[in-house]
């Protein structure tokens, strides 16, 4: 199938695989010097074990958007997570993943739509053909991954729901279940987690609801059973484990903006020109790579999405 979209990053810009595979040797060299005589401790068990792979999703077709950049290993995608409901340490979500129950699961679609409805997750999965979307993911903490998501575009679903003329924004809510999501028993954020998009952002062909990755069912720590993926925005916009999608007329509250409005805006488009107060956003570390790389405007999806923001001052609407 022809690619509708070409990555701005040429294959030759990508770290050669040999170098990539040897990336840890650099650390090893430094560590060997640092540890010197203490090698007696080398018997320590590895801390992070690769999680068991989820079942494969049948009938996944390649989607229209894919980067040919090296994909972040499955183990890293599933053990290095920001999912505060399952703990604030990067390794917590994988460790606590088993607590989250993803069946039965329904998603409520409500608000300014002609056809409000509650859809069972399995019915939703059957409603649209699943496709693979290989996207860059850029975290606001200045690290990034390349992830082969499995899901379906949100736009066609929104059309089926028939939004009214007052549906200007889409508000998403994560499951609230403190017994399954232990992070919700702490005050790390106001729970439940909420996120939002303008409706044109939500309808954009790059925006998907993802239900898996690497051709497999979504691991809980990555936001099972269904999550948003908006690849030109910082990762926290891509809300996980969604139970409610509400169409509204005014800009909905979003969790990180509520936590700290000065640091996290509603739009949160990846923008190397606008620094987070605590991280330069000019560069990022691609997980698995040693050297930082330049961060691209809109995470490299500018050609597709810059038009959404014509006339806006993205320094103000950050």
């Amino acid at each position: 199938m022809p690619r509708l979209w070409r990555p701005d990053v040429r294959s030759s810009d990508i770290t050669p695989e040999g170098l990539y595979l040897r990336r840890r040797d650099f650390l090893v060299g430094g560590a060997a010097a640092a540890t010197g005589l203490t090698l007696g401790l080398a018997g320590c068990k590895p801390k992070v074990a690769a999680p068991p792979a989820e079942p494969a999703l049948p009938g996944v077709k390649p989607g229209p958007f894919a980067t040919d950049e090296a994909q972040t290993p499955y183990k890293d995608v599933t053990t290095y997570n920001n999912f505060y409901e399952l703990g604030t340490d990067k390794s917590d979500p994988a460790a606590n993943a088993h607590l989250l129950k993803t069946r039965p699961w329904t998603v409520a679609f409500e608000g300014e739509i002609a056809k409000p409805q509650v859809i069972d997750i399995d019915a939703l999965l059957a409603r649209f053909p699943l496709e693979e979307r290989i996207y860059r993911l850029r975290c606001v903490e200045a690290w990034s991954m390349v992830i082969p998501w499995v899901g379906f575009p949100l736009g066609p679903l929104i059309k089926q729901l028939q939004p009214t003329s007052r549906a200007k924004y889409v508000a998403f809510t994560t499951k609230l279940a403190p017994d399954e999501l232990p992070g919700q028993r702490t005050a790390a954020l106001d729970w439940p987690y909420v996120e939002g998009l303008r409706i044109d952002e939500a309808m954009h062909p790059l925006t998907i609801l993802a239900v898996g990755l690497y051709g497999r069912v979504m691991p809980n720590q990555d936001g099972a059973p269904i999550r948003l993926v908006v690849p030109w925005k910082y990762g926290f916009k891509s809300i996980k484990s969604i139970v409610r999608v509400r169409f509204v007329e005014t800009e909905p509250p979003t969790s990180w903006n509520r936590q700290n409005a000065h640091e996290y805006g509603f739009y949160s488009n990846v923008n190397p020109e606008v620094d987070h107060p605590r991280w330069s956003q000019a560069t990022e570390r691609r997980i698995g790579e040693l050297r930082r790389r330049q961060t691209l405007a809109f995470n490299g999806y500018g050609k597709e999405v810059a038009g959404l923001y014509a006339g806006m001052d993205l320094r103000k609407s950050f």
């Binding site: 990067k90 936590q259 330069s280 040693l290």
Partner: protein, 210 residues
């Protein structure tokens, strides 16, 4: 010989000193094995920072311990723990400089100038350098004990900056940095209570200044 006053033997002191190096060794071994997770550079930096603060508070603990328990032996650990704190902060900074930023001095300069948590962290690191340099007996003699002691009061500034560095670093889960802040506060309160008592005693018994 009262055991509490004369512990540790040199062996015990050595054991504590070696124990303080175990976390660094463990970080090195995990890095060696590729077991620091998906983002080993950030992980190494975070862990080295954690142990820097832990050792910094351990360095500040002997005097309050003496005030509360009367034990004097922890006082003899202070220099060693202080130097080990310095070792950890050097490793922490070296990972930032060499691995995280890859010697990109322009970016580092911007970080230090623009990001308050890095500004205070870097300041704390710089302030520790003269303390490490003047940690030898020879230096104490050369400076004179009074001046040496005044200089080494910088450690309180460093400790506060170090904890602030951690508090400002985290995004929303403040539990761990606040534990450090709480321990530091307790240590400082115990000292200041004694200072206040000493000042009162000085006023009531003698015109000489402490």
């Amino acid at each position: 010989m009262a055991a509490s006053k004369h512990l540790p033997s040199r062996l015990a002191k050595l054991a504590i000193g070696v124990l303080a190096l175990v976390p660094a060794a463990r970080i090195g071994v995990l890095a060696l094995q590729g077991d620091l997770g998906a983002n080993p550079i950030a992980e190494a930096m975070n862990r080295l920072g954690f142990w820097t603060l832990t050792l910094l508070l351990a360095t500040l603990a002997p005097t309050p311990i003496q005030i509360v328990t009367g034990w004097k032996w922890p006082l003899r650990l202070r220099r060693m723990l202080g130097l080990e704190t310095f070792l950890y902060v050097c490793l922490h900074f070296a990972v930032y400089l060499g691995l995280d930023q890859f010697f990109d001095f322009a970016a580092i300069g911007k970080d230090i100038a623009k990001r308050p948590f890095i500004t205070v962290g870097f300041t704390a690191f710089v302030l520790l350098i003269p303390l490490a340099i003047t940690s030898t007996d020879g230096m104490v003699r050369r400076l004179g004990f009074a001046r040496w002691k005044r200089l080494h009061r910088l450690i309180y500034v460093v400790a506060v900056l170090g904890v602030v560095h951690f508090v400002w670093r985290v995004k929303s889960d403040l539990r761990q940095p606040l534990i450090f802040a709480g321990v530091l506060a307790v240590l400082l309160v115990i000292r200041s209570l004694r200072l206040a008592r000493a000042a009162k005693a000085v006023r009531s018994t003698s015109p000489r200044r402490a």
